[in-house]
Amino acid sequence: MMNCHDATFLLSQRRERTLTFSERMKLRLHVGMCRGCTNFERQLPRLGDAAKAYATNSEDKDV
């Protein structure tokens, strides 16, 4: 059974590459039973949105 570290690693990689069938199966099994990883999965796209908002928003702060 996959642990949370490996599950989040796959969830992260899924934003960069297509997972293999077996990776997807193992991931589903784990995430289906793990609330922490479910939340992590939901929050990943929001990190991207936040980064975009950060890069394009008007804050008169310098680098």
Binding site: C4, A50, V63
Partner: protein, 200 residues
């Protein structure tokens, strides 16, 4: 500034304050990605000049700004692609303990520690552009090891592919995956602690 002469920019030139503000954002973005001030300045200048040619087509500053930033993103991506700078020597990089030590968020079996298990976030959509949120994000991003922050922004904001990031920084694909994983774990944890936690 280079773009001052062209007649098409009557619309945008109407509000120099707006342009000045956009320019600051652009520079911040370009510096973060390119590192060098000169290259960042050039990219911003070119992007502005290019974007403002079509400025008359945009109603409203928000749309214009989105357009300008999109052009800048492409410029930055071009510069990064073209740069054949030999990347950070491996010796200078922080060692990536690939399989060895787990990030502290996990216990020895690789399961979330109780305190670090991701909690639900209340709907944060509306907040992403608030200055308080951006300040928190800024602090969290700056807390990452510099390379992690840079790779994360290259990926999520400039939207470079893994290959392109590898070529730019001289990392292997698996390095990039590990770095992005670490960056996301750390950012997420920091945002939860300082923004989404609400003391509950």
């Amino acid at each position: 500034m280079a773009q001052s002469a062209s007649p098409e920019i009557a619309f945008a030139a109407a509000d120099p304050a707006f342009l000045a503000r956009v320019r600051i954002d652009m520079l911040r973005f370009a510096r973060l990605q390119l590192g060098h001030d000169d290259e960042a300045e050039d990219a911003v200048q070119e992007a502005l000049a290019g974007a403002l040619k079509n400025a008359a087509n945009f109603r409203g500053e928000a749309a214009l700004k989105t357009w300008i930033i999109a052009i800048l993103k492409n410029k930055v991506a071009d510069v990064l692609r073209q740069r054949q700078r030999r990347p950070t020597p491996v010796s200078q990089m922080q060692t990536l303990d690939q399989e060895g030590a787990l990030p502290a968020l996990f216990d020895r079996k690789g399961m979330w520690r109780d305190a670090d298990r991701p909690a639900r976030w209340e709907d944060p959509e509306a907040d992403l552009h608030s200055s308080q949120f951006l300040a928190v994000f800024d602090a969290c991003l700056n807390r990452l090891p510099p390379q992690q922050g840079r790779v994360f922004m290259m990926r999520e904001v400039v939207e470079l592919g893994t290959q392109e990031i590898c070529a730019e920084l001289g990392l292997s694909i698996s390095n990039v995956h590990v770095i992005l994983h670490r960056a996301r774990l750390a950012l997420r944890a920091c945002l939860q602690l300082h923004w989404f936690h609400e003391g509950a």
